[in-house]
Symmetry: C2
């Protein structure tokens, strides 16, 4: 039922006209990257496969559709037996993408494929928006670990998917326990101001935390006075204190002061974690500060200014009355589509990405010095593309390493490689 | 398990220090409205109560927490028996809010209340962001109905909550079927370009749609040539054609042209629905165009530039060693909190909102000419605040009608009424 009303009414009309069972090819692509971004990151592919496996209409749902007169009886019969039996190819999860990249290609009957539009786009648009922002932050952090801690700033289940997407783009861990449970993302956490305020004094609060969690814990030091808190922390935990967290003020200034303090107290190995509305720009600005890790919330789960990846799902080919697959394209002003089923390759020069090659030529061979971008995800209804999240994480690392260095400029600009259609 | 790692480790430390069972009052508030907004809209309250009723740790979850060594055995025992037994008061869903409004007040033991931080904030931040944007769009539309159709631009379950939030802020319907099923939001839909492209010609596609869905349907007229499509539509459906949808081009110009064409063909009652990246500004710009309805996607589900409401959940009072409830507040630079349990009233002058009165005075009487803003949601663990979504929709209508007219300026500015603390 994660679908739109019009998918079902179109299905009804197509069942009646007989066109519903024509073979149809839909493609997911983005007309453009979010404003000023140099590359996008595909994420959600694994979740699309999970959703596809569960995409069914149960009795409750059918009863609702009947009662509300959303569709007629023949359509309800079709939905009751719905099972996607076609093929899906797509960019590997974690792969970088560019405008026009055929990120996912769904090949089935119109009836089977049209119903998947909403859920496929929901997942890819959300997860890719998060991963695309996260990837920039990871680069800005230059090897320092980032904890994703934005669950409270986004829908409760979007939070779980966001933690997964940030992790595959290179974040070290998440605060979200469900993401740990569902996807194996490492979880981490520090402490909140409420914990300090709950106790009669900061001293008591730190003592309680150390008693329970050990000296390796991370103490939050900005509830009252940062310098005083740091002294109390080291007094209680000793120089082996794991880390301190600073969540307010000028983080660069505070980090330098806290580092000096910690070193003066002999806690030279105590790490400094900073949080507080960080985004890729703020992280980059802290590159020279003695920071050992970042916690990022709002900006990563909301795509740092681009909360959706603006991907669309368009019919690019369908069988005609003679059973021949024909390219189709709309000609809407400003939003035309390119007809024909596509495949894509990343052209490389000396190991550096040079262009996104997108072709409608059937069975096109991989051009020399290029690598193919589409992999099989679903074959005749059977999911064949499942892979561990670690594989997507590694793929992202490799894909982003291959981009020209300009890809990492945070300033606004054009896509770092051109998309070449043929 | 929709909670953060640190909520559980804080719980563990507080269980050990003995502070876990102290009475604690947490409050949800926003330090500011999204940039330039004049008011915010509370949404998600009903969903918070649903989430609270389901907030439990099952065997699978406990096994995960044990295996990952997230918390120790006494904490796991506490979680296994977790049940919120405290009280929650909150702004009525649909109510307008301002900086510092105590949107939700959670009063329980620290252990019971701290665990709810993440899920309460997730829901309120997401749903209120959507409702706050939706409310502006509804006003800009000036009585013309708006369909929410942004499911594909946000996480698949966030989409369901977004449809609910947009509806309570005044949208007419949603494309999201699950929102119809789960929350009774009216669902609606038109047709996609894929349906036209599936058929051999626009003529055949329109015929198929009319055959199946009747002449009252909405035909999409911008796949190829708008004028030609409108003529075909009226030729096939007759002057009783329900509506046409335009999804590209200069919508104001196109709407005028299509209206002229329809009127010339005798289809004077055929409605014109426009879609295509509309937000409150684009809707306002179409006020003088012959448009009968809007479809809004991306901008409403992403909060039109403010995808999260930036609400926080802060400890404002807790029992001390003598069992006396004491106000507490942090003093973090730039992010201080105000201690003490709060209640709030909307001061009115001649029926127009004049100020948000927030007081920490226990049992404060409603000031003359003001109305109280907090209502009971949960009493000793029992949910007492459930209400139909229609009630929240009516409350929003009344609350927004009470605001000074300046509230509806789309230009950036300050909150339309001041928050007065006492």
């Amino acid at each position: 039922m994660l679908t739109d009303h019009y998918e079902l009414t179109m299905l009804q009309a197509a069942l009646r006209s007989g066109a519903a069972h024509r073979r149809a090819v839909f493609e997911v692509f983005a007309r453009r990257l979010p404003h000023g971004r140099r590359y996008g990151v595909v994420a959600g592919t694994g979740r699309v496969m999970d959703a596809l496996a569960e995409f069914r209409f149960g009795e409750q749902e059918l009863a609702f559709l009947r009662e509300r007169h959303v569709v007629d009886e023949p359509t309800l019969d079709f939905l009751a037996g719905y099972r996607f039996s076609g093929n899906v190819h797509g960019y590997g999860e974690g792969e970088c993408y560019f405008p026009g990249s055929p990120i996912m290609v769904v090949d089935g009957t119109f009836a089977e494929a049209v119903l998947l539009e909403t859920v496929i786009l929901s997942i890819l648009n959300h997860d890719s928006a998060v991963a695309s922002a996260a990837s920039r932050m990871v680069h800005a952090a230059g090897g320092r670990p980032i904890i994703e801690m934005g669950s409270r700033r986004t829908h409760e289940y979007a939070a779980v998917a966001a933690a997964r997407a940030a992790y595959l783009a290179g974040f070290a861990s998440t605060s979200n326990l469900m993401a740990g449970h569902a996807y194996g993302v490492p979880t981490a956490g520090t402490s909140a101001h409420a914990f300090t305020l709950l106790h009669a004094s900061e001293y008591e609060a730190f003592q309680a935390q150390i008693d329970s969690l050990g000296t390796g814990t991370t103490l939050l030091v900005d509830t009252y006075d940062v310098a005083k808190a740091v002294r109390t922390a080291v007094e209680l935990a000793g120089p082996g204190l794991g880390a301190v967290r600073i969540d307010s003020g000028d983080l660069a200034v505070a980090a330098h002061e806290v580092r000096r303090l910690l070193d003066g107290l002999g806690a030279t190995r105590t790490r400094i974690v900073v949080t507080s509305d960080l985004d890729e720009y703020a992280i980059a600005a802290l590159a020279a500060a003695p920071v050992d890790g970042y916690g990022v919330g709002t900006s990563v789960v909301t795509g740092s200014g681009a909360p959706t990846a603006a991907m669309v799902y368009k019919l690019v080919a369908r069988e005609d009355d003679e059973g021949v697959l024909r390219p189709v394209a709309k000609r809407s002003v400003g939003k035309p589509s390119k007809g024909g089923r596509k495949t894509a390759f990343r052209a490389l020069e000396d190991g550096v990405a040079a262009a996104e090659l997108v072709t409608t030529e059937p069975g096109a061979a991989t051009p020399e010095g290029a690598r193919p971008l589409l992999r099989a995800l679903v074959r005749e209804g059977e999911i064949v593309g499942h892979e561990p999240l670690a594989t997507a994480r590694e793929r992202h690392l490799a894909s982003v390493a291959e981009l020209p260095v300009l890809a990492h400029q945070l300033s606004q600009g054009d896509p770092v490689i051109p998309t070449v259609f043929s």
